[in-house]
Structures are given as C-alpha cells and as structure tokens.
C-alpha cells in the first residue's frame, strides 16, 4: 500500500505538489471550496491542466471539505458527508496567502463594524454587496487593485487608497479614486468605522475599511499553524501571484516531502 500524503489546498500550488510527488506516494488533496484552482479560478486552462496532471498521477481530490486538525498522523476533515479522518505520512499546507490583518498592521483604536479583509470585500462586491460607498483601502498591491476594481464595479462613490510602502499595482483609472502613500496607525468610529488615522495625525474619512496590504501565509489547520509534525509549507507570497511561482513551490514541497519520508 503506498504512503499517503495529504495536501491542503487545491490551488495551482497544491495541485502541482500532488502531480510532482513520486509514484510510491498516494496524494490526497483537500480544499474547502468545491472546485479546484484556488484564487486562480476553476475555469482556466492552467487549473484544468494542473488538475489533470494531479489526477493522472493518481491524486484523490476531496473538494468542498475543510481540513481542521492535523496531529502528525491523521488529518481531520469536515465535509458534506460528515467527518473524515485521513491517515497520512505527511501534510503539505498549500492554503495560499492573505493580506495582513488589523493587528498585524498595528492599527490601534476601537473595533467598529465595517473593517474587512480584501478577500471578503472582493467576494461581497462580486455578489453585488457593497462594503461601503466611501471606503478606504489599505495597500497598493495585487489584492488592493482587485478590491478597488470590485468596489468601483459594485458602485462605490469614492475610494481612498492608502499605500504604506508606496507600492502601486495596475489600478483602474477613475476620478473616484484618490491614492496616497502614508502609514495608517489607528481606526476611528463606532458602531461603524468612520475614519482611518494616519501617522502625523491626518484622518481619512470612510464608511468601510478594506485591508489589502502585504501577504502572509494562510494557516488555519490546527496543528499546522507554525511548524507541525511531518508538515511542509508550500505558500508562495509573490505579489502579484504567478503561475510559475505556484508550480515551483508545489514541486519544491513535493521534493521536501520525499526527503522527509526517506529520512524517517
């Protein structure tokens, strides 16, 4: 019976990892979203080809199921059919990355409603739910550009972008957009956010705050948050994300898993 290795994340990195594992290993890929592709999307040639490569390698895909806990020997997964326990020799975390949260940005002040991660703001805007008519967006990278485009499309009247490091990706041309380089230090408002305070005391008035600065690995499997027994992390944080970086990270994780199992 081949060794099983579980990969959490069916994005391009996770699929590339599954496809790159040696033949003596049976890859099992788990993703909470019911389609493969992750942030790259399911309806793309790259995703179709990555999925086909993983499946032809013998990978089993459990899509629409959420990995919750890894104890070094078994992954606990919750899905439509209930709880699944997947015994495995190793875990690969390929769960992608996310923008920095409020605490990581060091934003002081009260905790009013209306502060969203860019990932959430984008999903809401795509479904026609506008986070705010006059939102402020912290960040100038890929997630910020995506959030600005989605907010404008959803009907935002004026967006103020505050980029802490001066980075500015391809932003849409719009008179409703104001961009400045500054360091945000605090949030004001209650019960809903009313302003973002900048270093030096300037205030950016807003009715929603979208956090889109920086990228850190998304870690939400208990037992595999920082290190974890028999755990390999494959989470490139390139901004913007690229297909080649995802493939390289997946292949590198597969090689690391092989070394780990050989050494055990």
């Amino acid at each position: 019976m081949p060794d099983t290795v579980v990969v959490v994340g069916a994005g391009l990195t996770g699929l590339a990892c599954a496809a790159s594992l040696p033949g003596r290993i049976r890859p099992v890929v788990v993703d909470r979203i019911p389609v493969p592709g992750g942030v790259h999307g399911w309806d793309t040639d790259e995703t179709r080809s990555a999925e086909a490569a993983a499946r032809s390698r013998g990978a089993i895909l459990h899509l629409g199921e959420t990995a919750t806990r890894w104890d070094g020997e078994e992954l606990l997964v919750m899905g439509q059919d209930g709880v699944r326990r997947i015994p495995a020799r190793a875990l690969v975390v390929a769960a992608g990355s996310r923008p920095l949260g409020r605490a990581e940005l060091g934003l002081a002040g009260p905790r009013p409603a209306g502060i969203l991660a860019a990932t959430v703001a984008c999903h809401l805007s795509e479904t026609g739910l506008l986070a705010g008519r006059r939102p402020a967006v912290v960040g100038g990278g890929d997630w910020a550009a995506r959030a600005v485009a989605e907010l404008l499309h959803a009907g935002a009247e004026h967006i103020q972008v505050v980029t802490p490091d001066g980075v500015l990706r391809r932003f849409p041309e719009s008179p409703a957009l104001t961009v400045r380089t500054a360091t945000p230090v605090a949030v004001e408002g209650g019960p809903r956010v009313s302003a973002l305070r900048l270093q030096g005391g300037e205030r950016v008035e807003c009715d929603a705050l979208v956090l889109a600065h920086g990228l850190v690995p998304l870690r939400n499997v208990d037992g595999a948050v920082w290190e974890g027994a028999r755990t390999v992390y494959a989470q490139p944080a390139d901004d913007p994300a690229t297909v080649s970086a995802a493939r390289q990270a997946g292949a590198a994780a597969a090689a690391e898993v092989e070394q780990m199992l050989d050494a055990a």
């Binding site: 389609v35 999307g41 399911w42 459990h62 899509l63 629409g64 439509q80």
Partner: protein
Amino acid sequence: MRVRSPIGDLPFTVTGVGREGGELVVHGELGAWRSQVRMSAADLPMLARAMRGPLLVAGAAGVVVLVARAIR
C-alpha cells in the same frame, strides 16, 4: 451553468430532474457539492412575478406572429 455566490462563481451541473412528493426537483452538483433545487406549486406566483417581463415580451411576440400569419 454557473451560480454566483459569496464564495465565488461556481459551476452548476444538472444531473437529473424528477418529481418528489409534489415537488419538481432539479438534482445537480455545485462544484463538488451535491445540490438540489426544489420547486412546488406554492413557488409558481413568485416565479410568475420574477418572469413577468420576459413572459409579456414572449406573449407580445406571439400575438405579432399570429396577426402576421392571419394577414397573409
């Protein structure tokens, strides 16, 4: 077929249509999730309201076709 949802655009594949206990049931898969759309007679007024515009257009087009045929 696609369904736009808060977790993104997902593919919806219809795998069967049947009747269960007076309901019309469309069986399908939303990505990997088994899904069903169930419709009963109580849903007809809502559907009629939602489709009022297209139904009126279709009705008007039908009348035009009938009149044109009668004139010939």
